[in-house]
């Protein structure tokens, strides 16, 4: 299948899922309100920190707000697109309806990754982008075009990394079936991504960079925008994301061979 027809399939899937969400108007508005509420919840600790200590040596205010904006953008992606889709896989496996996905003449990973989309989480994306613009405009030395490009690239690779790690977690459902708790555990670790990685020390820092790579998702793009990331760090981040994507796709195919179709 060509790229054009893949795009057509994906845009159709997204459109139907938006329409089906909008059907429940009251729920939709309530979800929007809740998303705004959670947004305040997410930003509140940052506000408290700067309330009690206006200048912090461990990280600069600019770095903290840039990391927070990257966190919000990735959170929008995670809660609006990645998690709702990948959690459906668990349900598909349990009920045996993954059959219907596998029968369709489209790449199965693409189908399971794009069939559900929660528009109310857009609030996070808007907030993250506005916070990003605000923090960039406050920088004393405006970032150069190459710094901005690097930050955008690393944020993109952070998104790929987030998706790949989630896919890996979900693939374990082919063996264990019940993995909603595991994804809950991962979400609670992702909460640490709202702070610059500099607050962690020792082995925790290493684990959060290379094992549960949340530092690569939010702190590295922020550093790139500030021009404090060396080329080596950028290269590590990009190759890590590429490797994770390739690896998770391989695992998906291995896992599919383990799928026993519960309905038959």
């Amino acid at each position: 299948m060509s790229v054009a027809s893949h795009t057509r399939v994906v845009s159709h899937l997204l459109k139907t899922s938006v329409l089906s969400q909008m059907q429940y108007r009251f729920d939709f508005i309530l979800e929007l309100v809740m998303a705004c509420f959670w947004l305040i919840w997410n930003i509140a600790p940052l506000w408290v920190v700067y309330e009690v200590r206006p200048d912090i040596a461990a990280f600069s205010f600019e770095e903290a707000t840039l990391v927070m904006s990257a966190f919000l953008i990735l959170k929008a992606l995670l809660e609006g697109l990645i998690a709702p889709n990948l959690m459906q896989i668990v349900e598909h496996i349990r009920k045996g309806t993954l059959d219907f996905v596998l029968m369709k003449p489209v790449d199965s990973q693409l189908l399971v990754s794009t069939s559900k989309f929660l528009p109310s989480k857009f609030v996070y994306l808007v907030a993250g982008l506005s916070m990003l613009a605000w923090s960039l405009s406050r920088l004393l030395v405006p970032p150069s075009a190459s710094q901005l490009a690097g930050a955008a690239l690393l944020l993109g690779s952070g998104a790929v990394l987030l998706y790949s790690v989630w896919l890996l977690v979900i693939c374990s459902a082919f063996w264990f079936v019940r993995v909603d708790n595991l994804s809950h555990l991962f979400s609670s670790f992702f909460d640490a991504a709202r702070w610059p990685i500099g607050i962690f020390r020792g082995w925790v820092k290493v684990v959060l960079t290379f094992v549960l790579p949340i530092a690569l998702m939010t702190s590295y793009p922020a550093k790139a925008a500030l021009g404090t990331l060396d080329l080596e760090g950028g290269a590590i981040s990009l190759s890590f994301a590429a490797f994770a994507f390739w690896g998770s796709r391989r695992v998906w195919h291995v896992a599919l061979r383990h799928y026993g179709s519960a309905s038959s």
Binding site: M34, P45, I56
Partner: protein, 265 residues
């Protein structure tokens, strides 16, 4: 009736524990996913390393968030999800047929998880107290006793308020969104993310609200941060909210049950 309950409850506790042990892996993952106090500790410690914030230096933050972690583990309830599920699937019908009130039955299930929680908490607490320099709780045994008492009250309050929110499920489909909002308010106003005394303006309001009574109050007592007057005030606020919540549950439960239609059975 009390005598009958006293006979039945130990048996319910045993089944509660057996149920939790059967799903031990899942329960452990749930317990381990309480990472927020650790994250907030790392955050605040990185700030306190240059200079203490108020009375909090690095070790004081470690003690604080350790106490918060313990209180959170021992006072957490999930009855709202249980009720929601039971109402949605019709499982509640079966529970209503039993000669024990469903809320009493579920409370035994909650208590059954405590040994598993201790399995995680005891090593963490011991390691932190022994290995991290300067981490300590109040040396006054009375503070320890009061902390145990207030944790129990905090659990009861949390449980009853969640049960109330769970009953909302019989009126709208949105009881879990209400729970989300409740949890969000709780996290900000309970001292879960930061010690309330660091934001005095907020603390002045928060001491009157139920969130701190379910959150940092037992932790602050355990740490010895509160004088006798403040402890008494805190316990009275707890008891006041507890009575109110209890009265609401008593009043609302029979009404809500008349609305219950037992879907799916």
């Amino acid at each position: 009736m009390i005598a009958r309950l006293a006979r039945q409850y130990p048996a319910m506790l045993r089944t509660g524990f057996a149920y939790m042990s059967a799903y031990r892996a899942e329960v452990l993952i749930w317990i381990l996913s309480t990472t927020m106090p650790l994250i907030m500790y790392a955050m605040w410690a990185s700030i306190a390393r240059e200079a203490p914030v108020g009375r909090f230096d690095e070790a004081a933050f470690a003690s604080y968030f350790l106490a918060i972690l313990i209180v959170r583990q021992l006072s957490s309830a999930y009855i709202v999800w249980e009720l929601n599920e039971a109402i949605r699937t019709g499982r509640l019908s079966m529970l209503l047929l039993r000669p024990v009130h469903p809320l009493i039955y579920y409370s035994a299930e909650h208590a059954g998880a405590i040994p598993l929680r201790a399995l995680v908490l005891v090593p963490i607490t011991a390691a932190a107290l022994l290995l991290l320099p300067g981490v300590h709780f109040s040396s006054n045994p009375l503070h320890f006793g009061l902390a145990v008492l207030t944790v129990a009250l905090a659990f009861l309050l949390n449980y009853l308020l969640q049960a109330l929110i769970g009953l909302v499920a019989l009126y709208t489909q949105q009881s879990l969104s209400v729970m989300d909002a409740f949890f969000g308010l709780w996290a900000v106003l309970s001292g879960y993310l930061f010690p309330l005394e660091l934001v005095p303006g907020l603390a002045k309001v928060a001491v009157w609200l139920p969130f701190r009574a379910m959150g940092s109050l037992p932790a602050e007592i355990l740490l010895g941060h509160l004088d006798d007057g403040a402890i008494l005030f805190g316990v009275l606020v707890q008891l006041g909210w507890l009575l109110l919540a209890f009265a609401f549950v008593l009043a609302l439960w029979p009404r809500a049950m008349r609305r219950y239609e037992a879907y799916g059975s």
